[in-house]
Amino acid sequence: MLSQRRNQDEKTGNFFSFGRGNLQMKKLSFRIWLFIIILLISLLSIFVSPYGFTLFQKGVLIVSVEQNSSSFEAGLRQGQIITAIDGKSIANIADFSNYIEEKFPSEKAVKTIITTKDSDIILYSNNAPNITVSNIPKTSIKTGLDLSGGARALVQAEGKELSSDEINDLVSITKNRLNVYGLLDINVKAILDLSGNRFMLIEIAGATPKDLRSMIESQGKFEAKIGNDTVFIGGDRDVASVCRNDATCARIETCQQDSSGRSYYCKFIFTIYLSEDAAKRHADITNTIDVNATNPEYLSKPLELYVDDELVDTLLISRDLKGQVTTQIAVSGSGTGETQDDAYKAAEENMHKLQTILITGSLPYKLEIAKLDTISPLLGQNFVKYIIIAGIAALISASILIFIRYKKLKQSLTVILISLAEILIILGIAAIIDWNLDLASIAGILASIGTGFDDQIVILDESLHKSSQSLKQKIKNAFAIIMGAYFTVLVSLLPLMWAGGGLLKGFAITTIIGISIGVFITRPAFGDILKRMED
């Protein structure tokens, strides 16, 4: 009985150890696991965006909702996905605008049911919802300006070298201004290039604002003068606050046809609040001015508003204000246009500009645009398609050549698969670090895939080489070559990180990421896969 049991134990023991041995043979090496895990993480980061898995999702994405609008109050928020309106399914931006344009504006308030992914939202209005939408991004890979459209400017001070503090001030003022203009998707930063020049780089995704050049270049020097005395200037030292987006204190007042009858002009008016210092200055200056003899309601000298040394408006000063410390001042101006609509829009635009420079103050120097690119998104979409086709064609033709050379189907297929995986990992990392892929970055991906192919050939070739060395030793030999080549490419890319105002950084970074992934992740895995094939 006892002995029998011992026998059984031995049997099970044997069975287990046999099993373990088998398991070990099949177990994937650490390098292959690492490769698989990183590939999976990359796939996740590419295909799962903040809006979930959207590859096959139909609908439109809400990019922005006007604050305090009826749409906002009804519960529409940025980031929601609209799938249907009034029960009619919305697949893309064309569906959306067709439907909305047909329905709005309507005579009276109508009910609109907006179906989002999570809920139904009901609006009553005679105007279209105050939202902007876009097609849903299918992946979380972002493309650069040259592919997705937008504007980019490199800006310098005219005839002046800016210090690092000055350029940082410039960046924050410009950011402020562009925000006041209502531009959302903007990126402004200071750049130092290889020759020590400092630039401000402005990138605006999507549509290019119409007067971008003047918007960036305008120095925005605001002065309010009585005679030759400056009462106050733009910026928060003199102007405590500026009313905007509030119809009670900032509005377009009257629109009229001008005397010639050929054009219209509209007047705008908004309130600003002066700082104590500026208000006191106003009191001191007005105190010395007499009352107008012909028009006794007002003082004899007006308040004149200058923007960049150009007179934009003349305001008569009421006699009650003489010598008074007033902090509240109404600023006015106008806009003209061929039609009343145009004049209204021009007045709105001018009001916006004036408000902006009153808030942000002026720059102490003139700006010069060294480079301005405004790219239409239309061609970029085609580019991406062609680049994918070109990449696949290149990959297939290279693989055919490898197959012809080595006549090993399994190994040749592995080379293609590993290269494909490498592209996915590069894209995954680009998605994780929020990198915008531009044409230069794509060239970088191609470059690293090219070196990847070369490296795999070296490994394949070493491993097939007939010699007394073990496969492990052969793969080690291959890695000596690969690492050497890796370091030479790595160091040769470093200068590009800074050269040319950083515009070629995309190439340098993607290539460095690409070749590093290759050398540290995919190539070791490839070596191990070859070993397994040998076994």
Binding site: A370, T374, S397, D454, L496
Partner: protein, 302 residues
């Protein structure tokens, strides 16, 4: 079978006899390149012709189908030197845009084009504008030249650290230099105007050209097995040429697809193809001869 082996031995014997003489070819080519570049530099005061991204100017892409020849004539009358090309759909061949490049500034070109076309060009919608002012172009150019120089020096340092032997390291650096230099001469002979993308391609060439040289040097100096020098050379030749051919075919196929729509990628790929061809030559003639000479003379003295 025996005949084949004999042939192979004969072939190797031929190389054993003539490998030093073979070095005359790269020397002659390099001499020609230096003389050509000397003349080129004295004529243009530069190492290559620059496009507007390095010289300053404006590139306008007008969406849609246009009659390019008559537009070109009108532009030449107004602005002098003008470059114009079409972007067409790869499948249907239908023209989807026209690219105009001039050294004039964006406002002037825009005003002229709007006048010529009779409609407003809305930047970023029906057209794309890319303008660089002359001083920025010049500064880009200078920096990229420095970048190439620094990259080359860095590469050379790594090669010397890798092999720690003077002559073989020099051979690698020399053949990388010859690659880039000969490629540049060919670019000039073809009259290609270099953009900043072209300079990127030259940088990529540094990487592409040294990897076959590193392979060769590594096999010859580091592989300690029973194989002879000629066998090592032959085996690395087979690997290296496969690498270069695979890269060549991949780049060539990619070029066919992108040529019609992206001047950036077109230029990168064209320069890479030229460079890869010179790389095959410089690795398997220049570098092989030098390293063979080095190993044989070392064996004799040692």
């Amino acid at each position: 079978m025996e005949e084949q082996q004999n042939q192979e031995i004969n072939k190797k014997n031929w190389h054993d006899k003539h490998y030093k003489t073979l070095l005359l070819i790269p020397i002659a080519l390099l001499l020609f390149s230096f003389v050509y570049m000397g003349i080129f530099y004295s004529q243009h005061h530069d190492f290559f012709l620059k496009d507007i991204s390095l010289k300053g100017g404006t590139s306008v892409t007008i969406n849609g189908n246009l009659d390019t020849p008559s537009l070109k004539n009108a532009l030449i009358d107004k602005f002098g030197e003008v470059n114009i090309r079409k972007i067409s759909n790869f499948v249907t061949g239908e023209q989807i845009a026209t690219v105009v490049e001039t050294t004039a500034n964006a406002e002037d070109v825009k005003a002229f084009l709007e006048d010529y076309l009779g409609y407003e060009l809305i930047e970023g919608e029906n057209s794309s504008f890319e303008s660089t002012n002359a001083s920025l172009g010049k500064s880009f150019y200078n920096q990229l030249l420095i970048a190439i120089l620094v990259a080359f020096v860095f590469m050379a340092i790594v090669v010397f650290i890798l092999f720690r032997t003077f002559i073989p390291s020099c051979a690698v650096v020399l053949s990388a230099f010859a690659d880039i230099f000969m490629t540049l001469v060919t670019v000039n002979l073809l009259g290609i105007k270099m953009s900043s993308a072209g300079i990127i391609a030259l940088l990529m060439l540094i990487g592409y050209s040294v990897d076959t040289d590193i392979l060769l040097t590594n096999r010859v100096l580091r592989r300690h097995d029973e194989t002879t020098l000629n066998q090592k050379l032959l085996s690395s030749f087979k690997t290296g040429v496969t690498m270069s051919l695979v890269s060549l075919i991949a780049v060539f196929v990619a070029l066919l697809f992108v040529k019609s729509f992206s001047s950036t990628l077109d230029q990168i790929f064209t320069i890479l193809i030229i460079g890869l061809v010179f790389d095959i030559f410089n690795t398997w003639v220049t570098n092989v001869s030098i390293i063979k000479w080095y190993v044989i003379s070392k064996e004799k003295s040692g």
